[in-house]
């Protein structure tokens, strides 16, 4: 192998290449003599055997372990009452998990005959999905966490037991362990009162396990570097922005600017910010939008200007990763907030700099908000008295002290909060700052309709965070959409209950009649013996699918079709569903502007992702079908990304498409700059054009699956065809068009159909990476469907969306099948 090296400076590398050449030559020599072949074969066989034996051992071990456990479980069937507890452990981590666990074990020891089964799905999102399925199926846990923002919607659905009678009985009681509600901060308890209209009054729905007020965490080292004074508890927004500007003006040793502050624009935090100016986004009844009030608008405009008209004062919000609590840990941001106490366990791991906490700055007044989570009892619990015993056990002083030591939580029990369990030596030094804000704190009032929060959040994102809409426009969009939501005929109620019993009877009757009709039809048209035998065999072979379809598909599908004509809050049981006729479809097709956006975004994505993905997959398969050395390695390498899944990949991709520091733009920027172009802010200001394509590019990374199917198809084409054509002097291109493509026809059809169906259902990536943001610009169809069904609990509406999707995809499929029928060559498919 001739290697020519022209430059002198490369002499050493030339020597290396010569050396490598020699090694290759020796290897070739050995191979010719069969030595290397033998060695490599022995190695390969050893590896294969080791892996095989390990795999078998793993499977045997797994079955043994699981089998043993199941046996042991069936033998120990505990008597007595079992209470089910559902909670999450979020930022509290395994320590919070351990504390709840040991507290429950202590409860069992103190209450013989009572058993507790604990379920912890992990984060709050998984928790609410789990809670919803348990509720909908009529099997709710006895006690569970509820965030105070969900109290109105849960109360409106009658999911929780009112706790006033237990509290009254305990207040009168002298029994040890009785809960004295006066021991808790009244402002925190009030967060769980709801009278059907406003939070803070009326019936008590939960006992707070902990709470937090909010403020800014600040990097003391950066304050020192910028020469600005540390914040005091009664600092103002003017102090805040002056400090942010000073820190933003400072530079690190490499001459790079620091950033003054990260200011999150979550709905609750923006409302807290407006509270400091004595304003809110809506009035108490949620009918009157007050966000357009001049003083409120001025405050929002000020925030937008800080962020977008100044350099380095506030984070721009363009970047997807470096937002939220995480950005503070990098040490490059002076302040981050408004956050509650929940970031403390994470920040305590910071070694690189010193930090502390300051409550929310004041505007025209000092204000703050209380965010809290309760233990609540299910209205359907069969053991409410025992459940109450458990609730007060879990919220007692000792339990709260244990939680407080984690740093995560502020005890709702005043004695525990004032104790050294909370006011401790660990950071932040200003533990008191959280408590002193309580008297000036408000309970944030949320409506039962969960869409309020998301509508507000999405539009604030566009107006304040990414800034791709002028503020008045974003606010106006929120106002219109919320008004639309309020005026929706579906929201008004007064619909009749679904007649489930009658429907079930009708469906059973129709099914029976249908089966009878089919049987009769077959009886009337007997086949010749030979064909009848083939038909029997056909049904026998297809029977797994036929049975599976009837049980696991037809039932859910029919149920979801029926649900699409109902208004059913997916948290209540099915019997609560109301018949609305075609109301859902009407609303979707005629009124819902977010539905239209999601359709447009999805079609845009399908049109890019399907051709891109299929061309790439086919090209890759052709490449992989070449007979060159090392091809198994390349095949494996190209397929690998398709195996990777889960959270790690999500973290990676968020980073790849990050506008500022992301890999994609780091690569693109030097390539584009000669043409005077800049790479797009994928999920930021350019999301309208580049958001969906970014997901299409990402999906191209996972072509491995389609590639493998194409490859299997290519391998199925008999070599004789190509060889014969080659002998006849047919060129490469004509052979591909004339032989390969037609032979591959059925496989291409399969892959294209699957890609179309899959692309219409694109969900997971968007769910994990952007959650549909900014605005609704990456809110794909199924993501919006998921939001409706599992975040707003509108299962009826979501079912209608699913059926519209089903109809669209079915039409597209039939069109593709029809138009392809003429072009596809099947060896022997019987029509």
């Amino acid at each position: 192998m001739p290697v020519t090296v022209h430059t002198n400076t490369a002499r050493s590398s030339a020597a290396w290449v010569t050396c490598a050449d020699r090694v290759v030559a020796i290897l070739c020599f050995m191979a010719r003599d069969g030595i290397a072949v033998n060695v490599s074969r022995i190695v390969a066989i050893t590896v294969r055997w080791t892996l095989g034996v390990a795999a078998v051992a793993l499977v045997v071990w797994a079955f043994a372990r699981v089998g043993w456990r199941e046996l042991a479980r069936s033998r120990t069937d505990a008597g007595g009452t079992t209470l089910t507890v559902l909670h999450w452990s979020g930022e509290g981590g395994p320590e919070e998990d351990d504390i709840v666990e040991s507290s429950l074990r202590a409860f069992e020891a103190a209450n013989p005959g009572l058993h507790v089964k604990r379920i912890n799905p992990g984060d709050a999102g998984s928790f609410y999905t789990k809670l919803q399925t348990m509720m909908a199926a009529g099997e709710p846990p006895d006690i569970f966490y509820v965030g105070n923002e969900r109290i109105p919607s849960f109360a409106a659905l009658g999911l929780m037991e009112p706790l006033d009678r237990f509290v009254a009985a305990d207040t009168a009681s002298t029994e040890p362990g009785a809960l004295k509600i006066a021991d808790l901060y009244p402002q925190v308890v009030d967060a769980f009162r709801y009278d059907g209209l406003t939070a803070g009054h009326g019936t008590l729905w939960g006992i707070p396990k902990d709470f937090t007020t909010v403020g800014f965490y600040y990097n003391k080292d950066l304050f020192r570097k910028a020469g600005v004074p540390l914040p005091k508890d009664d600092w103002t927004w003017d102090d805040f922005i002056a400090t942010a500007r000073a820190i933003g003006a400072a530079k690190d040793d490499a001459g790079e600017h620091f950033t003054g502050a990260e200011f999150v624009t979550w709905p609750a935090m923006v409302r807290a910010y407006l509270f400091t100016e004595g304003r809110d986004v809506v009035g108490t009844t949620f009918d009157d939008v007050t966000i357009t009030d001049p003083k409120a608008m001025a405050a929002l405009a000020r925030l937008r200007a800080w962020r977008h008209d100044e350099e380095h004062a506030l984070t721009s919000g363009r970047s997807k990763i470096a937002t939220g609590s995480a950005v503070f840990s990098t040490g490059r941001v002076g302040m981050a907030g408004p956050f509650g106490r929940w970031v403390v366990p994470e920040y305590r791991r910071i070694q690189a700099f010193d930090w502390d906490f300051a409550p929310l700055p004041r505007g025209s007044e000092r204000a703050n908000i209380i965010l809290t989570v309760s233990w609540s009892i299910s209205a359907q619990s069969k053991h409410k008295d025992d459940a109450w015993k458990l609730v007060r056990w879990l919220t007692n002083v000792e339990g709260q002290k244990a939680q407080a030591r984690l740093g995560l939580a502020i005890p709702s029990n005043r004695a525990a909060a004032e104790s050294d369990a909370f006011i401790d030596q660990a950071k932040p030094a200003n533990d008191r700052g959280f408590l002193d804000a309580i008297p000036m704190s408000k309970v944030i009032n949320w409506p039962p309709n969960a869409k309020f929060e998301q509508l507000l959040g999405t539009n604030l994102d566009e107006g304040l965070k990414t800034g791709n809409k002028p503020l008045p426009e974003a606010v106006a969009a929120f106002e219109t959409l919320w008004k639309q939501e309020r005026d929706s005929p579906l929201g008004r109620g007064g619909f009749p209950v679904m007649p489930w019993r009658m429907l079930t009877t009708i469906i059973i009757a129709i099914t029976a009649a249908g089966v009878a009709a089919v049987v009769l039809w077959f009886r009337k048209r007997p086949l010749p013996r030979h064909e009848a035998r083939e038909e029997r065999a056909g049904f026998l072979f297809a029977s797994p699918w036929i049975i599976g379809f009837a049980v696991f598909m037809a039932f859910p599908v029919v149920l979801s079709l029926l649900l699409s004509f109902t208004s059913w809050r997916g948290l209540a049981t099915l019997s609560e569903a109301k018949w609305v006729g075609v109301g859902n479809y009407q609303q979707l097709l005629l009124e819902d502007s977010r539905f239209k956006t999601s359709v447009a975004v999805t079609i845009y994505y399908v049109l890019i992702a399907v051709p891109l993905g299929q061309l790439l997959a086919l090209g890759a398969a052709l490449l992989m079908n070449q007979k060159v050395r090392g091809i198994p390695f390349f095949r494996a390498a190209w397929y690998l990304p398709s195996v990777l899944a889960g959270v790690g990949v999500a973290v990676l991709w968020r980073w790849v498409f990050d506008s500022d520091a992301g890999l994609m733009n780091s690569v693109l920027a030097p390539l584009l700059s000669p043409f005077g172009l800049a790479p797009p802010h994928w999920f930021g200001a350019d999301a309208k054009t580049w958001g969906a394509p970014a997901f299409a590019i990402m999906s191209a990374w996972f072509v491995g699956g389609s590639m493998m199917i194409y490859l299997a198809g290519l391998q199925g084409i008999p070599d004789e065809l190509n060889e014969a054509a080659e002998v006849d002097g047919v060129g490469r291109v004509r052979r591909f068009v004339g032989i390969t493509l037609p032979m591959l026809g059925p496989v291409i059809l399969f892959n294209v159909l699957m890609a179309v169906i899959g692309s219409f259902q694109v969900f997971t990536q968007a769910f994990v990476m952007t959650g549909g943001e900014p605005g609704d610009l990456t809110r794909f169809y199924v993501l919006y469907l998921y939001n409706q069904g599992f975040e707003y609990y509108e299962m009826g509406y979501a079912s209608a969306m699913a059926w519209i999707l089903l109809a669209v995809v079915l039409v597209v499929t039939v069109v593709i099948l029809r138009s392809s029928a003429r072009h596809i060559y099947y060896e022997a498919l019987k029509k």
């Binding site: 797994a62 992990g122 699918w545 859910p556 490449l623 095949r635 199925g716 469907l785």
Partner: protein, 287 residues
Amino acid sequence: MRSRIGKSLIYALLIAGTVTFLFPLWWMVAVSLMTPEAAQAATVRGGLTSLVPTDPQWHNYPDALMQMGSVRWTGFLDALANSVVVTVLATAGTALSSSLVGMAFARMRFRGSRPMFLVMLGTMMLPAQVTMIPLFILFRNLGWIDTFLPLVVPAFFGNAFFIFMYRQFIAQIPEALLEAARLDGQGWFGIWWHVILPLTRPVTAITAVFTFIFTWNDFLAPLIYLQSDDQATLSVALNSFRNQYGGITKVNLLMAASLTTMVPCILLFLAAQKQFIEGLGKGAVKG
């Protein structure tokens, strides 16, 4: 000379693709071996310079696995055993049933097969999110909640995607081969066993690998149907792990745990690759 240029072009493409495709894995491996501070810098600040761990922290792996679940090591071992059991059963069930049904749709004449085939295609288009709650109601009434049954039993009734794939491949097998088997006195089952199964080995390999990977990584179904701590599969355990260490401060442990859960999928693919390559019954078609 032309073929040499062609060959170098092929290699150039192969290598460029490999770099692109292997990048995610490299990145995850690199981050999983970093100290918490370095990993955080790599994920937040980016830049390619930070992608070579100078001081690999191998102990990240045992550290991460040990902390899964509420009891040290037990959480990980339970989740591993559960994932293996569920995945092995679901994979075997899917391959077996899908190949039978695919053969029926491709090669057997029975009335109603075409409409049924279209209905089957239709089932693929319904987003899983919608059948989720009806299915939960069904499984609860069957008393299957908190068991592996909802995750395993449906697999034995075929999967529309793989039935379709088997059907597309089986439809291409020359009729002469089936006829020959028939002349040898084979019934339908014999044809399936002696002709179809060997000839569709690549499809079976693909089905096995895809089902394995899907079941192994599936998160929503185990989250909903399993309740007890010791029943959790790896993906559920990994998700709780993420929430406990998800803050970017421990992204290195998160990557170590994620990578470990992916190892079986990677090994299975490497093992099954041979099946793809040997091709769709080449010998049989030739002979």
